[in-house]
Subunit: 232 residues, 2 copies
DNA sequence: CCAAAAGTGTTTGCGATACACCCATGT
DNA sequence: ACATGGGTGTATCGCAAACACTTTTGG
């Protein structure tokens, strides 16, 4: 170890956890993936999914591990939200938690896994009471998602691979919580040059049918390189 | 303890630290407060100031404690920057660090304390090599400060209580790293209605003299309440 | 009276908003 | 043929950017 390990040995060891706010989206609105807690205290209550950070992994790796265990998906969008560290936040022990939010396409996760974990998608504004300070985490996550979606292309993590302009507009109406003008939205988003138009049309919601588009991440990255601003 | 304490007892305890990126500002530009490290490994090298989080304090409290110990000031602006948790980031032990950035008025801190801690202010673009991953923390802090100062009134934490419009403009030129038009800047910032004009003038930098102003936080908070956007 | 910085006024152009209008098609 | 949602075009307003101009005062 080090030449002066007393410095390290005199420090208080703590438990460090990660809790994940997993967001999804359907045409009905934003959703939140919640889990029935299995351990005391508060066994049986609704909770975010979480885990302790292990000695041999970084916090990001712990988050990826948790997300993959819970949904069966890897490479999920994840970003740190904040540290929750009140001394008495967890009656079970002195645990400091790093909250992450994650974005998943609701169709893609493994239904059996969700059942196994006793997990359910809730509309964000109809969420049940949550354990510990998880409600505060969700509020912070919602706030961050709503702010950030305005100037970063987070929506494309939540929508299906293929989507129509009206669907994308509905998503932003849900996020921004206000109406968005059809024509202006279409012109603006297409002018960015980051959507690839597909031949296929969606005929489910109108007789004329709406063209499907796909997010072109390479093009987006190139635009950003040139100082382009995504803001909706 | 809990009914199922095995859940907690089987977890790996870790050391949690806080490291502070302390920014200051002088007319010459942005400054960074660095410290000579006293303990091995890397004793004698330049470092951010930090400390382990103790069992009986939150991470925010630990940060305030560190900042007060280092500068003699309380109620310093502080905000979390990110978690640094690579498994091998610290050869001294398995330490996960939460980086905070803090903003102080350079005149106000206690000079004796700085000497006691072997601390010095460095121009941000002339900083020495730093221990561990502190260089990455500084880069992240600079990035966050530069982004955030554009749409949050962080500048007023760094400038003296009283400042002139030209001084404020110089600050934003340093932050944004580009020239800012005099006339337009003055009109915009005054139109926000968050500056209080003082009778006194600064005659140091011109014969005509420039009026001093003071940031009116109450007015700012009221404006924000009404959906006002600060963006420079 | 002139240089130098503070401070004011004027013009211009682009982008956001509002909204009118045209298109395609299943019933 | 018409209702319905997709898609296009156009007028307007506000505001940021550029920049010319006026003010003040010490040397």
């Amino acid at each position: 170890m080090s030449l002066n390990s007393a410095f390290y040995e005199n420090a208080d060891p703590l438990l460090l956890a990660v809790d994940c706010i997993i967001f999804g989206y359907t045409p009905e609105g934003l959703k939140l993936l919640l889990f029935k807690r299995r351990v005391e205290p508060f066994a049986g209550a609704w909770s975010l999914i979480g885990s302790f950070v292990q000695r041999d992994e970084s916090v990001e790796e712990a988050t990826s591990r948790i997300l993959e265990e819970a949904t069966g998906l890897s490479h999920i969008f994840q970003e740190e939200l904040g540290v929750f560290s009140s001394v008495n936040r967890d009656p079970g022990g002195r645990v400091i938690s790093i909250a992450y939010y994650a974005l998943v396409r609701i169709q893609e996760e493994d239904a059996d896994l969700l059942a196994l974990h006793q997990a359910s998608w809730f509309p964000v504004d109809q969420r049940p009471p949550l354990i510990l300070d998880h409600e505060a985490m969700v509020v912070a996550g919602l706030d961050k998602l709503r702010r950030k979606a305005r100037y970063q292309p987070l929506g494309f993590e939540l929508l299906p691979e293929k989507f129509t302009i009206p669907q994308l507009r509905s998503f932003y109406e849900a996020i921004l919580q206000r109406e968005v003008d059809q024509g202006n939205f279409r012109k603006k988003i297409l002018a960015m040059g980051i959507l690839e138009k597909l031949a296929e049309k969606d005929r489910a919601s109108s007789k004329k049918g709406a063209h499907y588009y796909r997010f072109d991440r390479d093009q987006y990255d190139r635009q950003v390189q040139e100082g382009f601003d995504f803001t909706i």
